[in-house]
């Protein structure tokens, strides 16, 4: 049997997708999974750290803003800087932005409403552990469920992001084309998920953990989580291929 990867799922007051990620990592993928309390300062030697979805502290200010200051975030930052894997889903992505571990910010959805729907995503690069189970250009279907997923940054910052190949997922239509109508929350450049320069930190708004089992009608998200726990060195390394591709 393959070696298990130890996964830590951080629980903030108001996290509500923590158990869903745990279920997929532990029961579906058979990895070792533990919950990490937001007030802890150690990651218990987890190789993968997941910041799950939910409404940390009610998201009463900006989504993810209060959680970004939790004690555990210092450890998450160190882990990320050391090349460790950090995956932020939905509220977790928002926290990574607020903590400055990923570039950009979120505004309220274009229509100012919470959106709970299935969307199509295009895989922009597959040389990250997270996306290694897909092919570039694959069109995935995943649910989104958020009120603040409208990704934004300055034009220069976005140009830089694109140039460095840090856009990992984009909202597209069923045929894989970028289209305003397919970009429901109004994100700049249809951005749904981004990684850091080294590719070890990934944040995305859609929920792979909710579409990782056939029984739920959609297994498109499984490869992402399977990739995240794939064996191999924790360090991913800067990948020049993305820029070229």
């Amino acid at each position: 049997m393959a070696l298990k990867v130890k996964c830590g799922i951080v629980v903030f007051p108001g996290s509500n997708c923590d158990h869903d990620v745990y279920y997929v990592l532990k029961r579906v993928l058979g990895q070792e999974a533990v919950f990490l309390w937001h007030q802890e300062t150690s990651l218990q030697e987890c190789e993968l750290v997941v910041l799950p979805g939910g409404f940390s502290y009610g998201d009463y200010l900006r989504a993810g803003s209060m959680a970004a200051h939790s004690p555990i975030m210092a450890a998450v930052r160190r882990h990320a800087e050391a090349g460790g894997r950090v995956l932020g889903i939905c509220n977790g992505f928002q926290m990574l932005l607020e903590a400055g571990l990923l570039p950009g910010a979120m505004r309220r959805n274009r229509n100012l409403r919470f959106l709970s729907v299935d969307v199509h995503l295009r895989v922009e690069r597959n040389d990250l552990v997270y996306s290694s189970g897909y092919r570039r250009g694959d069109v995935l279907c995943m649910p989104i469920a958020h009120a603040e997923g409208n990704y934004v940054d300055s034009d220069e910052a976005l140009d830089e992001l694109e140039r460095a190949g840090q856009v990992v997922f984009r909202y597209v239509d069923a045929d894989g084309s970028v289209a305003a109508a397919a970009n429901l929350n109004g994100s700049k450049r249809s951005i749904a998920g981004v990684c850091n320069g080294d590719g070890n930190v990934l944040g995305l708004m859609p929920h792979p953990e909710r579409c990782a089992e056939d029984l739920l009608g959609n297994g498109d998200g499984l490869a992402l989580l399977a990739g995240a726990v794939q064996a191999g060195g924790a360090r991913v390394g800067r990948l020049a291929a993305a820029a070229g591709g």
Binding site: Y57, G58, Y60, L61, M66, H69
Partner: protein, 88 residues
């Protein structure tokens, strides 16, 4: 401003009414406490709107602002509003 009349800029502040629960304010107070701001006694969290509008007179502008506060910008059942003039 291109229309007839004068341009006014008004700031509207909308806060939860004093007797109504303000979960947002409480949450921010707590968050500030957690990150070490221990001098904070209280936070009220509200909304603000900066409204640029055209009207024949200040009286007319004022009347329009009051109406829009009552009808749209504030919910009188749970919120109080106040108006400040930023121009003229």
């Amino acid at each position: 401003m291109t229309r007839n009349g004068n341009g006014y800029v008004v700031r509207v502040l909308v806060y939860p009414r004093a007797e109504v629960l303000d979960p947002q304010g409480r949450a921010i107070e707590d968050a500030l406490g957690r990150i070490g701001f221990d001098g904070v006694e209280r936070i009220r969290a509200g909304k603000t709107f900066e409204v640029s509008l055209n009207a024949a007179s200040r009286a007319e502008a004022s009347e329009a602002i009051e109406r829009m506060c009552r009808q749209l910008l504030a919910n009188p059942i749970v919120e109080d509003y106040s108006v400040e003039w930023l121009s003229r």
